[in-house]
Subunit: 271 residues, 2 copies
């Protein structure tokens, strides 16, 4: 398909946005758009400048036989803070308090625009790490893991709290369910995670830490390693966990009697 430069830039931008963290050779573009590699190279220089100036992401050139260009999405600290402050305001709404001191989050974690932004912020916080897989636990963690995996362009795996026939053979571990002080089981399909995977754990809410510790024990069973833990919100009451984590939001107080939730930016924003 032969295109004018301006059109070519639009379609190459679209390709890069939809294929983050993937090396694509200039020849691929050159063949697809019937243009000289030198022209493609100039197109990409312009796209690179536009992406960087607008904090959409960075474009790196990898030299060598398997070289090409690679797009890494980024987000400016200013935009990340602005987005998270809006989420904080939304989360502080007293309507969200459920009996028992739980907080209703499902609406936020099922809106594509919000998920896309959360995905960008978390992926950006781990962009220096090599990540093969994002892991989460069913059900509320799934859209979050999906959003982060989308930006990192890697698969995600879903740990389950129940046994499903459609998962085939599974490996299980015990974990302490924080909210109930009970020991429960979690399961991961044997074929879903290759040995030696580098894994980022993502979940919606961190309180007791039992669920995340459980996923970390599963990683050992799969001979895989933990790269990091990211949560949408933590309600950490100065507890010391066995793992480090990054949170978008920190819930410092849930006052059921007076229907007050205090929310601050999470430790992801501590420099």
């Amino acid at each position: 398909m032969k295109l004018r430069r301006s059109e070519r830039m639009v379609v190459i931008s679209n390709y890069l946005i939809n294929n983050p963290y993937k090396i694509t050779s200039l020849s691929t573009f050159s063949e697809k758009y019937e243009s000289a590699k030198s022209s493609i190279s100039e197109d990409i220089a312009i796209i690179k400048k536009a992406f960087e100036e607008s904090a959409i992401g960075k474009i790196d050139t990898i030299t060598g036989a398997n070289g090409g260009v690679i797009f890494t999405p980024t987000i400016s600290e200013k935009e990340a803070r602005l987005i998270t402050e809006e989420l904080s305001t939304s989360l502080s709404n007293s309507d969200r308090i459920l009996p028992g001191g739980y907080i209703y989050l499902s609406d936020l974690l099922s809106t594509p625009e919000i998920l896309r932004n959360i995905g960008r912020i978390i992926a950006d916080a781990f962009k220096e790490e090599k990540i093969d897989v994002v892991m989460t636990v069913a059900t509320k963690g799934v859209p979050l893991a999906n959003a982060v995996a989308n930006v990192l362009n890697v698969p995600f795996v879903i740990v389950r709290r129940d046994l499903k026939i459609t998962e085939g053979s599974t490996v299980s571990v015990n974990y302490a369910s924080g909210s109930s002080d009970r020991i429960e089981k979690m399961f991961l399909s044997k074929r879903s995670l290759k040995p030696n995977s580098k894994v980022l754990i993502v979940d919606d809410f961190l309180k007791g830490g039992g669920t995340i510790s459980g996923m970390i024990s599963l990683l050992k069973e799969f001979e895989s390693t933990l790269v990091g833990v990211a949560v949408f919100a933590d309600n950490n009451q100065q507890k010391h966990y066995q793992f480090d984590y990054k949170s978008l939001l920190h819930i410092s107080k849930i006052d059921i009697d007076n229907q007050i939730i205090d929310v601050e930016l999470g430790n992801l924003f501590n420099n």
Copy 2:
């Protein structure tokens, strides 16, 4: 931010790709990029041409006080078929047969590139409809619903098969669980779906139809209407369901003894 035309086109393309089905006024771009509306209008004409020629999507101009431009992602029938044929090959792999005649799908439904493409194909099949919300059932439907909702830029809601404290008040209905011929319950959080919503139901697998019929009864409880049903794969044995559906893939045979799965393109491709 003042940009050159070529850079402006890159960032406007990026904006439109990330904000499908949303009307944005030319003034928004004109203010953001400090350019005359006539220049923005020319930029968009070029982007529109490039998007259409590459089957990325269409850009429409809505006139009037609340007017602007709106981007609708599309996919060419050729690309949709190519993608689905690859999925069909992958699905036909006999390694996927699990004891009991179930099929392992989790790896496909947790790879961002695949999900993005499935989302584009399903959204495209319903692009003439007005859809407010995508509905699915936990857990395997979630990434699919998320992918479709991403393209349509609408929220999704997750029906659950168990009661979770963190969902608040719920409405439940009974449904016939096809695989076990048992009557079970499904639950939807009361605040997750507004009355009079137009809903697209998305699920991974259609066999007995009980789960989807259950979701349709839930819609009635929420005074909402069904726009359509889309599934990744159906294993319809000439059964007559109470609803119409579109499937990407049709599994015509699962032969456990000889370890054979026969997969064809689904009825979404019947014109």
